[in-house]
Every structure is written in structure tokens, then in C-alpha cells.
Amino acid sequence: MSDDIYMNIVEAIIFASDKPVSNRVLASKLPDHCNVSEILQELKSKYTNRGVNLSKVGDSWAFRTAPEVAEYLIVEKTVQKKLSKAALEILSIIAYHQPITRAEIEDMRGVSVSQGSLEMLFEANWVEPRGYKDVPGRPATWRTSKHFLDHFGLESIKDLPGLSELKASGLLARNTGPSYLNSNNINN
């Protein structure tokens, strides 16, 4: 019974929060002797095969409706905004190569990264800055956000579709050997 109350607290906190709640925050609300991860696993299993699931988003947790019942939930027609081809490409490059600098993205696409595409990704809150690369000039690097994981229903970046195949085929390598093809050289 005393264990149940902690699970209830975790359940209520995640339910009430307007964004995913991290393990750390949950732990701070519970007595030290509570094993938050265990409680979460148990809670998650309670919500298995239900209309609402407990989803892990990075190191955080949120309730989301089960994809199986989506067709019954056309609650609101959201405005469908087009993600430009360039923005989509940049998003996948950042997702699969993170952390990555702007110059590296430009190398891969052979063209410069337009401000518009990037702003689109920032506006959608899918991409965020992640420190600086330790090379001359210390360029800023980017990565995908927790919201990106949430939006695409991924538990972690490791769950990106086709990640292991891409890795195995060597396509996630950054250095392309001869630099003739680098945009820098082409542009100069």
C-alpha cells in the first residue's frame, strides 16, 4: 500500500505536467528510499495495451495516447505546415550525425544552410544548440531536442529508424576522404 502511493504520486506528477518529466524531478518529489526507475517500469506496464501509454522521452516520461486508437481521436485538424525538402534533409543530417556543426552539414549537402530552414527546425523545437566543437574557431554544434524525441515517438536517439544499418554501411562517416567535394572548395 505504501508503495502504491509513490506510484500514484509519480502517475499524477507526469499526468499533471505540461511537458515530459525527468527521473530527476520525480526522484526529488519522493523519499530517498524509493526506486524511481522501478516505479516507472511498473507504471509503464500498467499502461501497456491501454488507450494511453506511458512513454519514455530521453530521460523523461509523458503520457501519450496509444497509436492504435489514433483514428478515433481526430479531435482537431491541426494546420499542416510543410517542412521544406531542405529542412527535412538538414533535420535528418542533424539527427543521424549529432552533434554536428553548420559547416559539416554544408559539406554533406554541398550547399549552404539557409537561415529559413534552420529557423523552421528551431521553431518546431526539434533542434537545439549543443556546445562548441573543439576545433579552431570553436564552431557551435547542434543536436536534436527532447521535444524531437517526443514528437517522433522515440525513446532515444538510438531508436532512429535505420540507424544501425546506416552505421554498418559506413554512411554515417563524416570524412569523405579527398576534400575536392567539400562545399568550401567548390564555393571558393
Binding site: F15, A16, S17, D18, K19, S55, A62, F63, R64, T65, A66, P67, A70, L73, V75, T78, V79, Q80, K81, K82, L83, S84, K85, L88, E89, L91, S92, I93, A95, Y96, M108, R109, G110, V111, M120, E123, A124, N125, H147, D150, H151, F152, G153, L154, L160, P161, G162, L166, S169, G170, L171, A173, T176, G177, P178, Y180, L181, S183, I186, N187
Partner: protein, 271 residues
């Protein structure tokens, strides 16, 4: 936290296929607008070979690219430099592939070809996974978040921002604004005729004969120093005139500026 509820969908541009057809039909209506730069064009040309990207012919690709750019050039002189630089590089690569390998070259044509092929495969892979991403169970499309926003009870700590001087300045401004009233001169206290009259009336009873008016003044009056004392003198004189008017007393003064005497009038109230 604001959440964008816009679902993004991918735009699969249809004009790209048209471009390919244009290339194939050798039609001269070429343009580069459908392409995101030379690599993009190269990738589309490579895909046109209809083989696995691992087996594309770089030589054929180089020829097609040069041909395509030449055709565009005929029509439109304003080709972005990057397409021309790539054309030059591709031409160079083509010559390297065709000519026998020379020993002193730093990079072999094979390595160069492989680097190009790799870049094309990688870009193609990024496009594919980009589309795969949108096949996932998307939030607001396949999965929904809690609809009702439950009021969380919040404790808000105002971080150090409002400090004591803010408080004091605010209070001072408030007090200051309240002090901004119109100027009202301080009224001087003066003896009224009514007061002098009642004193005169009281004292009259004990004086039946001519009596100096100055004896009816309060003791210790100093008209040189005090405005109030002056007003007592003036009020007393005015009061005496008032009593004369009422027919209760008589006044007399033998010379200008001389002493003034008064006595109850015969048949008057004070007799």
C-alpha cells in the same frame, strides 16, 4: 512550454521527375531550379542510371553532368558558380579516370570517384531516413498528449530581482506624489471682533464713569511686536464702535491721537 501543434509533412517535389524526363529526352528546356545545388543534381543524375548507388558509373555521371550544365548554359547564362566549379571538377575527374594513372598523384581517380559516390549515397540515405522519420508514430497525428491542462500549483520565487531599493524607491515615489498638493498659506491667528465684544461687555459692568479704552485690553499687550496683539487692539476699538452704534456706550476723544475714553450710556444696558 509552448508546443508547436503544427505537424510538418514532407514535401515530395514532383517537379524533380519532370526534370529527369527532360534530361532523358534531351529537351533543351532545362533548369536548375529544382535542385539544391550540384550535389543534388548529381544525385538525381546518378539515380537515373537505375542501378544501385553502389554500382553507379562515375564516368557516365560526369558526362551527364557536364552535358546538362552545357545545355543550361546555352539557355541561361546565370548559372550559380557552384555548378560551374563542380563542372570543372567533374571534367577533371573524368580526365583522370580516362587517362592512365600516374604514380605521383596524391589521390587516385579511384579514390576520388569513391569519395563522390560515398557522398551521393550518404545524401540519398539522409533523404530516405528523413522520410522514414515521418512514418513514425507522430505526436498530434498518431499520438496525442493530454488535452486538459491541469493547473499545477506553483510556488514562484522571484529571483533576487526586486530588491530593497526597488521597494524603497517605489514607496518614496508614492509618498512624494501624495505631497504634491496645492500651496495653502498658513492663516495668521487674529482676535475677532466677537471675542473683543464679549470681553468689553463683561468689563463694562465694573466701570460706570469715563474710563480709558486701553484699560479694557488684556494685560501685557505688545502691539509693536505681535500682530496678534495689534489685532486685539483693533478688535477692541471696533467692538467699542459697535457698542456705540447699539446705543450702549459713549466714546470721547479730546484731541487727535489722544486717549479714548468710554462710559455706559445713560439709560443703556450697562447703566
Amino acid at each position: 512550454m509552448e508546443e508547436l501543434h503544427n505537424n510538418f509533412i514532407t514535401s515530395q517535389d514532383s517537379n524533380k521527375n519532370e526534370d529527369l524526363e527532360i534530361i532523358e529526352s534531351d529537351d533543351l528546356f532545362l533548369n536548375l531550379e529544382g535542385f539544391d545545388g550540384p550535389i543534388d543534381l548529381l544525385l538525381e543524375l546518378a539515380k537515373k542510371q537505375k542501378v544501385d548507388l553502389y554500382n553507379i558509373s562515375i564516368l557516365e555521371l560526369a558526362e551527364q553532368y557536364i552535358k546538362y550544365i552545357e545545355n543550361v548554359k546555352k539557355l541561361n547564362l546565370e548559372i550559380a558558380t557552384e555548378y560551374l566549379v563542380m563542372a570543372a571538377w567533374i571534367a577533371f575527374l573524368k580526365s583522370r579516370i580516362l587517362l592512365p594513372e600516374e604514380e605521383e598523384e596524391e589521390v587516385s581517380s579511384e579514390e576520388m570517384s569513391e569519395a563522390l559516390a560515398f557522398q551521393l549515397r550518404r545524401l540519398d540515405a539522409m533523404r530516405r531516413v528523413g522520410n522514414d522519420l515521418f512514418e513514425l508514430k507522430l505526436l498530434h497525428r498518431d499520438r496525442f498528449s493530454k488535452g486538459i491542462n491541469i493547473e499545477e500549483k506553483k510556488i514562484i520565487n522571484f529571483e533576487d530581482n526586486t530588491n530593497l531599493s526597488d521597494l524603497i524607491i517605489s514607496y518614496s515615489a508614492l509618498i512624494r506624489s501624495q505631497n504634491l498638493t496645492d500651496y495653502v498659506p498658513k492663516l495668521k491667528k487674529l482676535e475677532t471682533i466677537e471675542v473683543a465684544l464679549s470681553r468689553l461687555n463683561k468689563m463694562m459692568n465694573s466701570h460706570q464713569d469715563w474710563t480709558q479704552l486701553s484699560l479694557f485690553l488684556p494685560k501685557g499687550l505688545d502691539i509693536r511686536k505681535s500682530v496678534y496683539d495689534c489685532s486685539v487692539l483693533a478688535a477692541t476699538f471696533s467692538a467699542s464702535l459697535e457698542l456705540v452704534k447699539k446705543g450702549e456706550i459713549e466714546l470721547k476723544q479730546s484731541v487727535p491721537f489722544g486717549d479714548i475714553f468710554l462710559r455706559p450710556k445713560v439709560g443703556g444696558k450697562h447703566e
